[in-house]
């Protein structure tokens, strides 16, 4: 996971750099929550360009980070999501609260 905080926009960019499953979510969850609570961003943008695989563990992971960010007054968005992963997000209905946006 790589992250960058853009102070002027209060935007936290989190780039996930591994496959997302039950095994990897524990680490991603801990690191992401750490960054969110540290910067209290207005917006958190998860970049999925380096994610080649995700199963349903990713749904719980992203909802969990939404809860953390939301509690601190921020929103969450996702970008560069591959079609096979988008299909999983679509099935869960999570895109209603955590939208996909075009890359920035």
């Amino acid at each position: 996971m790589e992250s960058e905080f853009l102070k002027e926009d209060k935007l936290l960019l989190i780039k996930i750099t591994e496959e997302i499953d039950h095994h990897s979510t524990e680490k991603i969850r801990r690191m992401a929550d750490n960054e969110i609570t540290r910067y209290m961003p207005r917006k958190v943008l998860f970049d999925f360009s380096k994610v080649s695989f995700m199963d349903s563990a990713g749904i719980g992971m992203i909802i969990g980070r939404y809860k953390t960010a939301n509690m601190l007054g921020g929103t969450v968005q996702m970008t560069n999501v591959k079609p096979s992963i988008q299909k999983i997000f679509e099935m869960s209905g999570v895109l209603k609260i955590i939208p996909l946006i075009k890359s920035v």
């Binding site: 496959e19 499953d21 039950h22 095994h23 979510t25 969850r29 695989f53 995700m54 199963d55 349903s56 563990a57 749904i59 719980g60 992971m61 909802i63 969990g64 079609p83 096979s84 999983i88 099935m91 869960s92």
Partner: protein
């Protein structure tokens, strides 16, 4: 003598979460001989990942146990059987329901079986309390290229 199946493989591993990737990659490598599309391969990997994760989290509740996978190929179909000797599923109907999870505190989405059912053509669940769970899934891989070739032959033949 030719058996019922054209090919078969068996895999057994400990219920450790770092075996989730090992399991789905191995099954995908076995399925590759059916020449699936990238999307079909992703569907198989995801379904295997869901079933194996269920065995680890729910079947064994993070205790050590063994998970067994048997994959079989016949014609253009792959059949994947994933079994554990864990605690079993109390209510299979409930477990199948989208968004239902017995472990919401673990940030589980409850989408595991829904994903297996929508990504595979058939999903059967057999579970006995105290004995374990066996998931059997089937997926038909359409032979795209051969279909194209047949069409081309038809066109050539017609000329």
């Amino acid at each position: 003598m030719k058996g019922l199946y054209e090919n078969e493989m068996k895999l057994e591993f400990l219920s450790k979460s770092n075996n989730e990737a090992f399991a789905r990659i191995t099954v995908a490598a076995f399925a590759a001989q059916l020449d699936p599309t990238i999307e079909e391969l992703a569907d198989i990997k995801t379904a295997v990942s869901e079933a194996v994760t269920n065995s680890i989290i729910h079947g064994y509740e993070n205790m050590e146990g063994k998970i067994k996978i048997i994959a079989k190929i016949f014609a253009n179909t792959i059949e994947i059987e994933i079994s554990d000797s864990g605690k079993g599923i109390e209510n299979v109907e409930m477990a199948r329901k989208p968004l239902y999870t017995s472990k919401p505190n673990l940030e589980r989405s409850g989408m595991g079986f829904t994903i297996m059912e929508s990504f595979m053509d058939e999903v059967h669940i057999e579970s006995v309390i105290g004995l374990g769970t066996k998931i059997t899934m089937k997926k038909v891989i359409e032979k795209q290229e051969e279909f194209e070739n047949d069409k081309q032959l038809e066109i050539i033949g017609a000329e």
